[in-house]
């Protein structure tokens, strides 16, 4: 709470105490400054290969050095800690932790709900992007701003709002209950929350591509006798495919890891509506660090694979873009 405490913990007087990571920070600083001195990050002359291209602009060593140090301290070291912890488990230990029915069903719930939500978002995200780009209607600016709300609204706020809306006594939930559909406290509720979270990813990925689509291509298609529907299916949709896939992957990745908006609406019944991030928290609260580590590592690997897929998709998108 007290600010002094924060500053003490963040930056202890190095002369007085030398924590174990002191050596690490010092080492990192040394590596950065040494590589700077030796010109590793500088313009190098011909034969030594061009690690860096000469530029007249200043500050390369400084900005890159600080960026890398910050990146290393805040992101890489903690993630490495997770990886090393996981490595300590060994294969059998790891397998024992993640192969329990509760963990497996949590993964199943997380994957299927994220998948369903991402699919819903592909369809409706495309629709929203289409309407925003192609049509003009009153209140368009407001609608455009609304699309970004899931980015900006804290997830916990979204979680409690969606829950009270879709609970059986809520506005929408009560209507659906008459039809026999229960949303809140079921996997369906998770899908609703993840749809909310993932929407802007699809819309904001598809929108610019749709904007840059040359109308001439569509006119050509129509002048060659294609109907509006054929033009959409055979000219527009293929051009949007990379963007739609990227948006899908982004929404799916976000959905897998989402926590705040889901836990309120999910009901969190082990085996039925318990998601992986919640399970990690439960394990941590039980001080079962091994279990948390194993599950977290598996999640991390999944995220990395998705990140790779997203990067490849984006490269594909850029390639397409340059050709057209």
């Amino acid at each position: 709470m007290e600010p002094q405490e924060a500053s003490i913990c963040l930056a202890p007087p190095l002369s007085a105490v030398k924590p174990p990571w002191y050596a690490f920070v010092l080492g990192l600083a040394k590596v950065v400054s040494l590589s700077h001195e030796r010109g590793l990050f500088r313009a190098t002359r011909g034969s030594r290969g061009m690690l860096v291209r000469y530029s007249i602009l200043p500050g390369f060593g400084l900005t890159l050095g600080i960026s890398m140090a910050w990146l290393g301290l805040i992101v890489l070291v903690p993630l490495a800690a997770l990886a090393i912890h996981a490595g300590g488990l060994g294969w059998s230990g790891f397998w024992a932790e993640v192969s329990t029915p509760r963990v497996l069903s949590a993964f199943r719930v997380s994957c299927t709900t994220a998948l369903a939500a991402a699919l819903i978002n592909v369809v409706f995200g495309l629709l929203v992007a289409w309407v925003l780009v192609r049509y003009r209607f009153p209140g368009q600016r407001l609608v455009d701003a609304l699309v970004d709300l899931p980015f900006a609204l804290p997830t916990a706020v979204a979680g409690i709002a969606l829950t009270s809306l879709y609970a059986t006594n809520g506005w929408i939930g009560s209507i659906l209950a008459e039809w026999g559909v229960k949303v809140a406290f079921t996997p369906l509720g998770i899908v609703v929350a993840l749809t909310f979270i993932g929407l802007p990813f699809v819309v904001r990925t598809v929108e610019p591509v749709l904007q840059d689509l040359a109308p001439e291509e569509e006119e050509v298609a129509m002048s060659l006798g294609a109907s509006r529907w054929q033009t959409f299916i055979r000219v527009i949709l293929p051009a949007l495919t990379p963007a739609l896939l990227t948006g899908f992957a982004l929404a799916f990745a976000r959905g897998l890891g989402e926590y705040g908006s889901v836990i309120f609406i999910a009901g969190n019944m082990p085996g039925i509506s318990e998601i992986v991030p919640l399970l990690i928290i439960i394990k941590l609260e039980q001080f079962s660090y091994q279990g948390a580590t194993a599950i977290g590592t598996l999640m991390l690997v999944l995220s990395f694979i998705l990140l790779l897929v997203i990067n490849l998709l984006q490269a594909w998108m850029r390639g397409r873009h340059h050709v057209s």
Partner: protein, 363 residues
């Protein structure tokens, strides 16, 4: 001697952009670096301006080694290809920038700066637009702002990268004549990069033709146009007909069209003959029947005549081998040759280059 470039090389990864370039630039001259894209001309300009670093060689500016100097210390003005005006500053602020950023001890008083800026804007004929932003100017106006901005720091050398590249044809012509006049008034040593041969030949005192990181030829515009030193220069400067030929016993024979020409003392072997279209003479066939196919005249079919303006372009064909001649409309009318006719062809000023070494064999 204003600038002395010796042995300058530059490598980007595996790509050799400049290969030991030597060049001497006279004080007060307007020099064009001419070449296709990738020939190294812009790289050379950027190294001169201190924006890029050479991998080897030396450069002196007015007798002083320049490679270690910052752009500020070199006292060069650089005009960028896309103008690179500061988009958030007015025209006036753009021009004043170089004077505003001087260290406090060297900085001129405010009044002097604004007086100088006003004078420069007058010079580039933009005084009424001083408070506009770059986005509100036309391409030609932006280019003149860029020039005024570079001149504001009173450079000893002015470097211009494709100064007219992004302008449309008409503005480009006006602006390059204006640049020539400006240079004659101010007499600053200036180097500009271009890929447009017409521009280089019209504006520059001397033209440096570059290709593949090397200088192919340096000379006055008339000299490089009339006496190209290599097949590349021939090809690059103006239209030219290229014939493959074989040299033996002191004569060169163009096999495809059956013409021969003397090549006394030349090594036997394959060679290339270059003939400008206006150096191809057409002869009415009835006057030429006497020696058609003999020493100097070949029989060609007129495929097509493009006759627009004072000159006519005639497409000729000898057994499927096509080439081009250019002549005055009046002369063509006198000859009375039409598309589809046969006529005699004589090459008046062929130049022979060895196929292997690209060396000049004979004028």
């Amino acid at each position: 001697m204003a600038i002395n470039i010796s042995g300058i090389s530059k490598r980007f990864g595996a790509f050799l952009a400049l290969d030991k370039v030597d060049l001497h630039i006279q004080s007060g001259e307007l020099l064009a670096l001419l070449g296709p894209s990738g020939s190294g001309k812009t790289t050379l300009l950027r190294i001169l301006g201190g924006l890029d670093r050479a991998c080897g060689g030396t450069i002196t500016f007015f007798g002083e080694a320049a490679l270690g100097l910052t752009p500020r210390d070199r006292q060069v003005g650089f005009v960028f290809q896309h103008y690179s005006l500061f988009r958030h500053m007015t025209v006036r602020d753009n021009v004043a920038f170089g004077l505003d950023v001087r260290p406090r001890r060297d900085r001129l008083p405010r009044a002097v700066i604004s007086e100088r800026v006003a004078r420069l804007l007058e010079l580039v004929q933009l005084a009424p637009l001083a408070d506009r932003y770059p986005a509100q100017l036309s391409g030609g106006q932006r280019q003149r702002v860029a020039l005024a901005r570079a001149l504001a720091i009173e450079p000893k050398v002015l470097l211009l990268d494709e100064p007219f590249g992004a302008l449309d044809a008409k503005v480009r012509k006006e602006l390059r004549r204006w640049l020539r006049r400006l240079h004659d008034e101010m007499n600053i040593t200036s180097i500009f990069v271009t890929h447009d041969q017409e521009e280089a030949l019209e504006v520059a005192d001397r033209v440096v033709v570059m290709n593949n990181g090397r200088i192919e030829q340096v000379g006055a515009p008339g000299e490089v146009y009339d006496h190209p030193a290599s097949p590349f220069v021939y090809d690059f400067l103006g239209n030219v007909n290229r014939f493959e030929c074989i040299i033996s016993d002191g004569t060169a024979k163009i096999v495809s069209i059956g013409l021969t020409m003397p090549a006394i003392g030349a090594e036997p072997g394959p060679a290339l003959a270059f003939v400008r279209p206006h150096d191809i003479e057409l002869i009415r066939l009835d006057a030429a029947t006497g020696d058609a196919g003999g020493g100097g005249v070949a029989c060609a079919r007129v495929r097509h005549i493009h006759a627009i303006g004072p000159t006519a372009r005639i497409e000729l064909d000898i057994e499927g081998h096509r080439f081009e001649a250019v002549m005055d409309q009046d002369r063509l009318r006198c000859l009375g040759v039409r598309a589809g006719d046969w006529c005699g062809v004589r090459l008046t000023r062929p130049r022979l280059f060895s196929s292997n070494s690209a060396a000049l064999i004979q004028e």
